[in-house]
Symmetry: C2
Subunit: 321 residues, 2 copies
């Protein structure tokens, strides 16, 4: 069992990532402020290397492996964005990468991981469990398992996006982060705890995939296996053994957003801010656009990624989903 | 007849625009550099106020009107982006705005001008000529005519995007700008002439709307009325009495890009850079992606705007145009 990460691990990750990860831009919009009823600061992780915040966690975890581990290679499982991130980090560091990926994953995300040189091990979601397949591959080949969220070095690295946002806008009252397995959210909460005495951290999920909110509120781990949501990047079944207690301790509340609200947020970011954000990355904006946080002061939002298949965006733009 | 603008007018416009226009970001992409065979710097005017460079020219021209002119109001004609820009500038300055717009204009651009409070005077492209309608309205109502490109203050303001790019990347070897009526191109060329002894300026047009290239090469004004191109923002029929001589004097060459190349550039900017660029704004990238400037050193490109209708982008993403 890995040890619980702390704010100091996020700080250390930020030092390690310097010159590797992009310091991503922060966007503002008067129209969004007016609609949400507060000042909004959007952290554009869609502009991160490989198009999502996952690069931060993957680099932090993989760069900390021993030389012997690096020589043997790494394995992970991911619906897409973490796969791309592990693949690019391994290519840059000259390490062999294998990715266990569900056969229904986004074709674009799968293709990107392949293009960066990773080997893909595909499984049928009705028949296989990545939590069985991946450790088995790791044991068989001696590969280091780089968990996509439930890993202290991964989630500490993922928290560096929020750290940068709080460095640039120190007086945030709220910080909203998408929640799938909880790596980004718990890393962000560690950063907020260390950077601000008063910033409240809100996890955001699709209404159809609200297992983390239920786990958070009840103290018992809930799950949503293969939930029906357009936000494939946060369709993870459940929180992990590290992320669940961190979220219980550090997060203030959860918000749930409808599929319609997610698509409206994607369209808003496209037309008004001229940026491409995938559905999972737009849930924080969707929550703010409901107006439920009006009057709360300054809100930071992690736009977690921008990897979206052309035909999914086409359907969202046409309003036909 | 208005006097010929000079580099000093672009400089003066930049001072006037400080705190009004956005200093837009510059994007780079290793993938694009590899594909184009040179270092590319993209000036993101899609992030400008109202979503295009047109704000710069409209603000510069309208803010220079006398108090008496401002009290009477302004009129312009535009397929869309200049209309939005004039409408917002007038709203901000408390001036009445009227826009003469073709009935086939992009619905989104029309809607945006309306939302900023402009009055729209629509005409049928088969029956009316904006170059007749607009001066008639100006004369009838005493409105100041803010030409979209053939106006010394408009085009000087439009040149400030290139000025900023050359301030940030002074050693550009090439500067590519889209060309419709030639305001952006001639303003950019004035900026380049003033900022660099060696930067070559290239105008870029759709193959189906190459009237400016033919005018440039022959010294005789050519025209393309309602050319069949997806790049509606640069489908202007001909250069103007100011922009034609400026372009003849200051531009080094023209490039023509196919409709397929324009759409591929829009898709590339969407998927790889996660930014929304309209077809007219992507022609410079389309020209570079052909590889025809490989080995030329450093190229700056004006991404002129990001205002694209949802259904047009959906069709481009689906590859069905």
């Amino acid at each position: 069992m890995a040890s619980m990460p702390a704010f100091s691990d996020v700080r250390a990750a930020a030092r390690r990532l310097r010159g590797r990860a992009q310091r991503t831009p922060i966007f503002t919009s008067r129209t969004l402020d007016a609609r949400a009823g507060l000042q909004v600061y959007l952290k554009g992780e869609n502009f991160q290397r490989t198009g999502s915040f996952k690069y931060r966690g993957a680099y932090n975890a993989i760069s900390r492996l021993s030389d012997a581990e690096k020589a043997r290679g790494v394995v992970t499982h991911s619906s897409g964005n973490h796969a791309q991130a592990v693949a690019l980090v391994c290519r840059d560091l000259g390490i062999r990468a294998a990715v266990v990926m569900v056969s229904t994953a986004s074709p674009m995300k799968r293709q990107a991981a392949l293009a960066y040189g990773a080997a893909i091990h595909e499984y049928d979601p009705a028949a296989g469990d990545p939590y069985v397949i991946t450790p088995a591959l790791a044991a068989e080949h001696g590969w280091a398992l780089i968990e996509p969220f439930n890993h202290p070095h991964t989630l500490a690295g993922q928290g560096t996006a929020a750290l940068e946002l709080l460095e640039d806008v120190p007086d945030l009252d709220l910080l909203l982060a998408p929640c799938g397995g909880g790596g980004l959210l718990s890393g962000s909460a560690l950063a907020a705890r260390g950077m601000s005495a008063s910033c409240r951290v809100i996890g955001v999920e699709p209404e159809t995939a609200d297992d983390a909110a239920r786990s958070f509120r009840t103290g018992t781990l809930h799950e949503n296996v293969n939930p029906p949501t357009i936000a494939d990047g946060i369709s993870t079944a459940r929180l992990g053994s590290l992320t669940f207690p961190l979220i219980r301790e550090l997060v203030s509340d959860f918000a749930a957003v409808s599929e319609q609200a997610i698509m409206e947020a994607v369209r808003f970011l496209f037309h008004r801010l001229k940026i491409v954000v995938e559905p999972a990355g737009a849930v924080g904006v969707a929550a703010l656009m409901s107006g439920q946080y009006a009057g709360a002061g300054k809100a930071g939002v992690i736009l977690s990624g921008g990897n979206i298949d052309a035909e999914v965006m086409a359907r969202i733009l046409n309003g036909s989903l």
